[in-house]
């Protein structure tokens, strides 16, 4: 099955690990995978994207516009910035916690993410989760990426078995953080269950 998954956020949020885990897990399940990351100057506090392309169809590493089955966004504005990549009927999973731009404190635009989230709701199927809240329960913002990965897995749209993803998490995070990351992943899955109901109500 061909799937294009875009992961986006702000440099330093841990998007790269999430994309590596998705790519590795899909490969583990026998798929051909191509992916690409933002590297270099753009990493520093800038917008970053990872493109993960699963399946035989992809010839090039970057997802074409209107093709992503899922956008997993670590930040509300970044989801909007990359929305053109979403295909019709695709799903956006978004962390509601905004990352204010560094320039914000200099030229206050009042950006707080709400406008972005409202816009997303209008445009496409959205699962919005509060990453900040989850991380404070988990005790560190370091778990944001795995928490969001859990949400993505819980949504079913990744079509990768939870066990495969967990296997890659165990392989890729430092041994002393495995337990907390597994917990973060599970918390992501559970939140989806609760949200899934509210989403149904909304429809």
């Amino acid at each position: 099955m061909n799937r294009d998954v875009m992961i986006c956020g702000v440099g330093g949020q841990g998007t790269v690990l999430a994309s590596k885990i998705i790519a590795a897990a899909a490969m583990e399940e026998g798929s051909v995978v191509h992916s690409a990351e933002t590297i270099g100057m753009a990493q520093r506090g800038g917008s970053v994207t990872s493109h993960v392309r699963i399946g035989e169809r992809a010839q090039s590493p970057l997802i074409p516009l209107g093709s992503a089955d899922m956008i997993l966004s670590f930040e509300p504005a970044e989801a909007v910035r990359n929305l053109a990549y979403l295909k019709e009927g695709g799903i956006v999973i978004v962390n509601t916690t905004p990352v204010k731009p560094v320039t914000e404190s200099l030229c206050e635009t009042g950006y707080d993410g709400t406008e972005m989230l409202e816009y997303l709701e209008k445009k496409c199927r959205v699962i919005a989760v509060d990453g900040d809240d989850a991380c404070s329960q988990l005790g560190s913002a370091k778990f944001l990426n795995i928490f969001l990965l859990g949400v993505a897995a819980g949504s079913g749209a990744l079509s990768i078995a939870d066990e495969t993803l967990l296997g890659e998490i165990r392989k890729r995070v430092p041994a002393r953080f495995v337990d907390s990351n597994v917990k973060a992943f599970e918390m992501g899955q559970e939140i989806f269950n609760v949200q899934g109901e509210t989403e149904d109500e909304a429809q």
Partner: protein
């Protein structure tokens, strides 16, 4: 064994599979991970170094290739400008062991000064070039490149682009690598010493040889021709080939010709692939290299073929291509209706800008701020250079007036002085850039009696490209601890009128150092020494106390990303702050302090 690797990793593993013995390079996005991959794999018997610059790397590797060993050189495209001196001559002399020079191009440009095209360099030097379109292909093609290099006793260029270097794919890699056997250097001054007579003879030989290579390339498997014969055909190179393939999956019945070896242009192959074709479009990034080669071929052979591409405006000259751009270009060329698959975002709210900035706690911020404060009200020119510190141009620091190329800041500061004696001229250079191409410039300053201040921003690493070691760090790529080369000692030995080393995070001392240099005639230097925050542990965290009058001076003056406003009040972002303490030295009411400051 299957490995999921970055394109640069694939290039590295391919070179190792080809039995490479010597590897040298200088870091530069998008090429840096090639050498890093080799050093991370078990590389018994392989010599690896980060050279001081690309010219040095080229020469180190050339000697290995003279000795019959296989040699790899890596750099980004602008690095090839630096290495062009040895490369030009090397092209005449030739090699014994296979020598492949990876020069990674950066269409966009995404993180480079120029959109230059390494294929042109190959043409200029008259040596073959390989142009991979994916990581999988790069792995195989670099092995071919070594074969051709040895077969024709010539250095060979290998030109991936960012989208190949930084894409990931899985590669089947051998479990063990070992460098090939080699004879060692055999003296022969008629062969290895370049003299006009040798250049004359070899020039003729090279042109004659290139005709043979072009024929050889015509049967090279990676130059491919797919799809049924059609009146309209597509010819593509590099990653553009992958984009074209993706489009033609849904729009079959069009011939797709792929050029993997742009120079020497495989004319026989191209001619036969375009048989029956009346219109062809060239898809390539950077320069219209394939397009011009095709036009030359058509002109020579009197062929009837309409060629479109960059030269008639069908394909943009600048920027990179993408699957979407190629879909639009090919739709127009083939007369297919354009599909707009992206949802309409015209009504989207204004997106916050996220320009790259110096990290929170970056010592460069403090260095720039100290110079800015010390020189307030004076006429100044601040010459910048290549590295993270180019970001010192951003508001509110605004401390980079020029940036040209590696090491240029030091020499340009002299030029500004010679044209305007009233202006205080400063050059900012990083430690790695200083070793790469700053040292000769400072000798020039002393010799030609400039009046300038050099600010060495010494953070003990090559930060921008991913923290590679350099001569000042005391570590090398063979994993050895070596004597650190001291920038201070070098500057003193050159005979500067003043050399001051200071911790930039001590604002008062730094301002004093700048003033002292400003008052001294001649060539002066300040070494701002403080490690990059990305390679050191944070020193704690700053807090803002009740005393804060919310004047926002801290935010306005230094622009540290860890200083934010929450509900209108200035706050320190605990996740970002490194406790560098710069802000605490700026606050007029002493409201910022470390632990216990409530």
């Amino acid at each position: 064994m299957k490995e999921y690797v970055m394109g640069n990793g694939a290039i590295a593993l391919g070179a190792m599979a080809a039995g490479v013995k010597a590897v040298a390079g200088y870091p530069g996005t998008p090429s840096s991970e090639i050498i890093e991959t080799i050093s991370k794999h078990s590389h018994e018997g392989i010599y690896i170094e980060w050279s001081v610059n690309e010219k040095a790397a080229m020469e180190v590797a050339a000697a290995a290739a003279y000795s019959g060993a296989r040699a790899l050189v890596t750099m980004k495209q602008v690095g090839l400008n630096v290495a062009s001196d040895p490369l030009m001559s090397l092209a005449y002399v030739g090699v014994k062991g296979g020598m492949v020079i990876v020069s990674a191009d950066d269409p966009g440009p995404i993180s480079s000064q120029t959109e230059q095209d390494t294929r042109r360099f190959a043409d200029f030097c008259r040596i073959p070039v390989f142009d991979p379109s994916s990581p999988e292909e790069a792995f195989a093609m670099i092995q071919d490149a070594f074969e051709y290099s040895e077969k024709y006793s010539t250095p060979v260029l290998f030109r991936p682009t960012t989208r190949v270097c930084h894409a990931y794919a899985s590669i089947d890699v051998p479990d063990i690598f070992s460098p090939g056997e080699y004879e060692g250097f055999v003296k022969d001054s008629k062969k290895w010493v370049i003299f006009p007579k040798l250049s004359f003879a070899n020039h003729g030989m090279i042109e004659e040889r290139n005709v043979r290579i072009a024929q050889d390339f015509s049967s090279y498997g990676k130059n491919s021709c797919e799809g049924a014969a059609s009146a309209k055909a597509v010819i593509a190179g590099g990653v553009s080939y992958a984009y074209a393939k993706e489009f033609l999956q849904d729009n079959p019945g069009v011939r797709l010709v792929r050029i993997a070896t742009p120079f020497p242009f495989p004319e026989d192959f191209v001619r036969s692939s375009l048989e029956g074709v009346s219109e062809v479009i060239c898809l390539e990034e950077l320069s219209p290299y394939i397009e011009e080669s095709l036009l030359k071929m058509i002109g020579k052979g009197g062929m009837q073929l309409a060629v479109s591409g960059k030269l008639d405006g069908s394909v943009p000259h600048n920027g990179e291509l993408s699957a979407d751009k190629v879909a639009d270009i090919l739709s127009a060329f083939l007369g297919i209706e354009k599909k707009n698959r992206a949802c309409d975002l015209e009504d989207a709210p204004a997106l916050p800008m996220r320009p790259p900035v110096l990290c929170a706690g970056c010592p460069h911020r403090a260095s720039f701020y100290a110079v800015k404060q010390a020189m307030k009200g004076r006429k100044t020119v601040y010459c910048g250079d290549i590295g993270c510190y180019t970001l010192g141009n951003a508001m509110p620091l605004d401390m980079v007036d020029t940036c040209l190329c590696m090491g240029a800041g030091i020499t340009m500061a002299q030029g500004f002085y010679h044209t305007d004696r009233e202006v205080a001229c400063f050059a900012f250079v990083g430690d790695s850039t200083f070793f790469a191409s700053g040292m000769t410039g400072i000798v020039n300053a002393v010799y030609n009696e400039a009046n300038m201040t050099l600010c060495v921003l010494d953070n003990s690493t090559t930060a921008m490209t991913g923290h590679q070691p350099h001569p000042g760090t005391g570590r090398n790529m063979m994993g050895n601890v070596v004597d650190k080369v001291s920038i201070e000692k070098i500057l003193k030995a050159v005979g500067l009128s003043k050399v001051i080393t200071v911790d930039p995070l001590d604002l008062e001392a730094s301002i004093a150092a700048v003033k002292e240099c400003d008052e001294t005639e001649g060539v002066k230097a300040i070494i701002f020494k403080s490690p990059c925050v990305a390679i050191t542990k944070p020193q704690g965290l700053m807090k803002i106390s009740e005393k804060c009058i919310n004047c926002k001076k801290c935010i306005r003056e230094i622009g540290c990303p860890a200083l934010i406003t929450v509900d209108g009040k200035v706050t320190v972002d605990a996740l970002l702050c490194t406790g560098c303490g710069l802000c605490s030295q700026i606050c007029p009411v002493d409201a910022i302090g470390g632990a216990g400051n409530e």
